[in-house]
């Protein structure tokens, strides 16, 4: 075969995603989009996005992560007047302490859900088991707020209300735990399939949505695994932070194997 034959072959039989793959990718995009979409409407988003092209993928992921956190805050600030209470996470998003109309359809499910604490059994039955110590809000959720787009007087007022709300102890509705578990499962399967970028996006999404959720330890374990397996320089520091925080974790040996 000469070069023209090879070109003709590639034109007629290019690499193609299977229908399942295409649908899975779309679901993953759709899920990430729900978190990211407020950013695209915010005035600062365009400027922030302009830096993305110059960044590597790791940096892109980091940029998305911080933006998601800021955007959630910004969304709350923008609509804070109507909401009245400015807790960032509502509904599915981890421990709900207040209602909010800022989030998507997922977040409107839990207002009536009965609070329930996940038992050791429910956690053990999860594919990524482990007890779940409470975790302080992670980076995206605690991103310094001045960076959030379009701050206004009203926004600053709402911003002031955000801080005390974060510290409140909260109950976990059933729906929230199930949704959280589903998100962890997706993260886990992304790690398994070697889709590290997607795994990191999902882990960040979890950190934003469930800053002190039931599966924080699992999320951090998956994040460390994804970073290490992708060869990221941040892998070893994520692993050592994990070991420091959960020295007796059941994920320890797997992380050690991946990050050595």
């Amino acid at each position: 075969m000469n070069l023209d034959d090879l070109i003709a072959a590639e034109r007629s039989a290019p690499a193609e995603a299977t229908k399942t793959q295409a649908n899975q990718v779309w679901q993953s995009i759709e899920h990430s989009f729900v978190s990211v979409v407020p950013a695209v409407g915010a005035p600062a988003a365009a400027g922030k996005a302009s830096t993305l092209g110059k960044l590597g993928l790791g940096k892109l992921s980091a940029a998305l992560s911080t933006t998601v956190g800021k955007v959630l805050i910004a969304t709350t600030l923008v609509t804070g007047g109507a909401v009245g209470v400015s807790r960032l996470d509502t509904g599915d998003r981890g421990p709900p302490t207040a209602e909010s109309s800022t989030a998507g359809p997922e977040n409107q499910r839990t207002a009536a859900a009965a609070p329930v604490q996940p038992t050791a059994d429910t956690l053990r039955s999860a594919p990524v088991p482990g007890d779940a110590p409470a975790q302080p809000p992670t980076q995206p959720a605690t991103e310094p707020q001045p960076a959030a787009p379009a701050p206004s007087k009203e926004a600053s007022q709402s911003q002031a209300e955000v801080k005390p709300a974060k510290a409140r102890p909260a109950a976990k509705p059933k729906a929230s735990v199930q949704a959280e578990l589903a998100l962890i499962r997706r993260t886990q399967s992304a790690v398994r399939s070697g889709s590290h970028g997607r795994a990191l996006t999902l882990a960040r999404q979890h950190a934003t949505t469930y800053p002190s959720g039931a599966f924080v330890e699992d999320r951090e374990a998956l994040r460390a695994l994804a970073l290490c397996e992708s060869g990221s320089a941040k892998g070893s520091s994520a692993a050592s932070k994990f070991h420091k925080r959960w020295p007796k974790s059941m994920h320890r040996s797997r992380i050690e194997a991946a990050c050595e």
């Binding site: 075969m1 000469n2 070069l3 090879l6 070109i7 072959a9 590639e10 034109r11 007629s12 039989a13 290019p14 690499a15 193609e16 995603a17 793959q21 295409a22 990718v25 779309w26 993953s28 995009i29 759709e30 990430s32 989009f33 990211v36 979409v37 407020p38 950013a39 695209v40 409407g41 915010a42 005035p43 988003a45 365009a46 996005a49 302009s50 993305l52 092209g53 590597g56 993928l57 790791g58 892109l60 998305l64 969304t75 609509t79 109507a82 109309s101 800022t102 998507g104 379009a150 992304a190 399939s193 070697g194 889709s195 590290h196 970028g197 997607r198 397996e229 992708s230 060869g231 990221s232």
Partner: protein, 210 residues
């Protein structure tokens, strides 16, 4: 931007309108409508161009196991960067430019991962069962493309496989049309040599087998 985006189909236009910097995020109903509209439009773009993105990433050297991940990343960039889209050429060339960046990053990640796997003896060499079959011939070309430098490879893919025009390619890569022709000529010559070398190797292997 609005007028130029309009040239690129309804989906892109709606997405641009929904996410553009001019869209005022004033009220919650407006925001919700904007989000829904942006999502629908992104879905349109995805449905129309997912295959193009996938095959472009494969041709640019993204390994099979990471193609889903890379496609996801491309469309996340699309969702976020549409306000910057000026539609100087077409949405395909814009998408290709995003693919180039994502592919570069994915190749780096994959190379690191492969290195790690080699240390543990986990790597499996890929073989093409029938190098003269249509699918394997296509794969052979994709393998050969990886021997080209990135600049030449991008020009070759856009010109020979996607049949884009020289001005379109020039706009994606920020080079002159004359440079496009020159890189295309060099890419073809290099690939011709690679094909000849491969034939020679196959002949030798057949001779050895006898």
């Amino acid at each position: 931007m609005d007028s130029s985006a309009a040239r690129n189909g309804q989906g892109v236009e709606a997405l641009a309108a929904a996410v553009g910097p001019t869209a005022p995020p004033v009220s919650e109903p407006d925001r919700a409508r904007g989000q829904a509209s942006a999502k629908r439009a992104l879905e349109d773009v995805y449905r129309q161009h997912q295959r193009f993105v996938w095959r472009s990433l494969a041709r640019l050297g993204v390994a099979d196991p990471t193609l889903s991940d890379a496609t996801h990343d491309v469309f996340m960039v699309v969702a976020r960067r549409l306000p910057e889209f000026e539609a100087r050429a077409s949405i395909k060339t814009w998408l290709f430019a995003i693919c180039l960046r994502i592919a570069r990053s994915k190749r780096r990640d994959y190379a690191r991962e492969q290195k790690r796997r080699e240390q543990y003896g986990l790597t499996r060499a890929g073989t093409h069962a029938d190098p003269h079959g249509q699918a394997d011939a296509a794969r052979t070309l994709r393998d050969l493309l990886q021997q080209l430098g990135e600049d030449k490879r991008a020009v070759f893919i856009m010109a020979e496989l996607e049949e884009m025009t020289a001005p379109e390619i020039a706009s994606v890569l920020g080079i002159k049309p004359a440079t496009v022709y020159s890189r295309l000529r060099l890419a073809r010559a290099e690939l011709e040599r690679s094909v000849q070398r491969q034939h020679a190797r196959e002949r030798r292997e057949k001779g050895d087998a006898r």
